[in-house]
Symmetry: C2
Amino acid sequence: MRAKLSSRERIIRAARKAFAERGHDGVSMSEIAQIAGVKKALIYYYFPSKEDLFYEVWQYSIDELEDHVFSETRDENVYVSKLKRILRSYIDFITNKNEIKKIMDQERANLSREDNESWKRVRDRYEALKEKLSSAINDAKTAQEISMDVDPDSAADLILNGFSITEDPDGLESIREIIWRGLVSNSGE
Amino acid sequence: MRAKLSSRERIIRAARKAFAERGHDGVSMSEIAQIAGVKKALIYYYFPSKEDLFYEVWQYSIDELEDHVFSETRDENVYVSKLKRILRSYIDFITNKNEIKKIMDQERANLSREDNESWKRVRDRYEALKEKLSSAINDAKTAQEISMDVDPDSAADLILNGFSITEDPDGLESIREIIWRGLVSNSGE
DNA sequence: TTTTTTACTTACCGGTCGGTAAAATATTAG
DNA sequence: CTAATATTTTACCGACCGGTAAGTAAAAAA
């Protein structure tokens, strides 16, 4: 039987669900309150603003993604194997924690907007994730285990963007294979 | 000197610009009116609703993309060359008609939402584009000019999603190279 | 037992949303 | 010149937005 969650926790989960489905701009605070089964004003008791609530959801989501994807490969010392496992567990994460991936997809366009000061921390958290992935790729490249043609930063972009929309596991797998061959093959021409 | 545009055209261009920057949900009709230099009610004279205005922008944008990407390769008969040119002109399009690509990025998450009946035609127009790309890939595969491991549909997804956010031309080029090697190399393992 | 803090509700704020009716102005046709 | 028609503006609608002030009930601290 489920332990009763605190109101704060219920709000966060409701927000995550709603933001995943409709995005930050598509969701109203009253909508979140309704899903969480609390009054709207209570949200403002725990969170100063919609933006702050969103950021907490965002932060937790990316933390969870990083934990899942990077923690188990920490002691792997063959970089290309490590990278391969990162990719696999990333797909595993997308499949099982689909809500979190959806939030990232929803706000992807906002991540490239240099204006909008209030989104800075959201962008920063995302950039930190990307950096982790990028340096794992760079390690493999430095060890000459993947193609020297690969630019680690672009490859990280490709991985983080390439699996959007698709929910079908076979589709994800196909995409992973293409990307992987792109990373390891020596010359495409 | 610029010929004076009709109000209707000015509205569409203003809407395209605004939707590219902030997305459908992030833009208000009065904002669009202001950019177009027109009263809000005039928009409703030409377009029944915000949704209809958005769809017209969307439709024209994807038409333009298809024209740019597919028209010049129509008489190419070596499928792999054709596909390579498609990819190149897609990047060219992203670079030069960046506003249109941004609209697609903004609404990407909405494209996977099966609910929301009113977005059906938006999704359908996108799916038609994807189908065109997918069958170009399939042609190259059938002619055994690219890897037999490639699933055309997934590859089309990857191409349409993989170039997001990035505006830096070098980054786009790097991503294109990875994808291309992924398509043509015979086995990544 | 009194006081303070925590958790939460009720009722409201000004502002903006998408959308509309009707009047005013331009344009065109007879 | 006039009448009809196409275009644009003015002024407004109810609904909902994010956010807040003030109060309440219960629990924790004094």
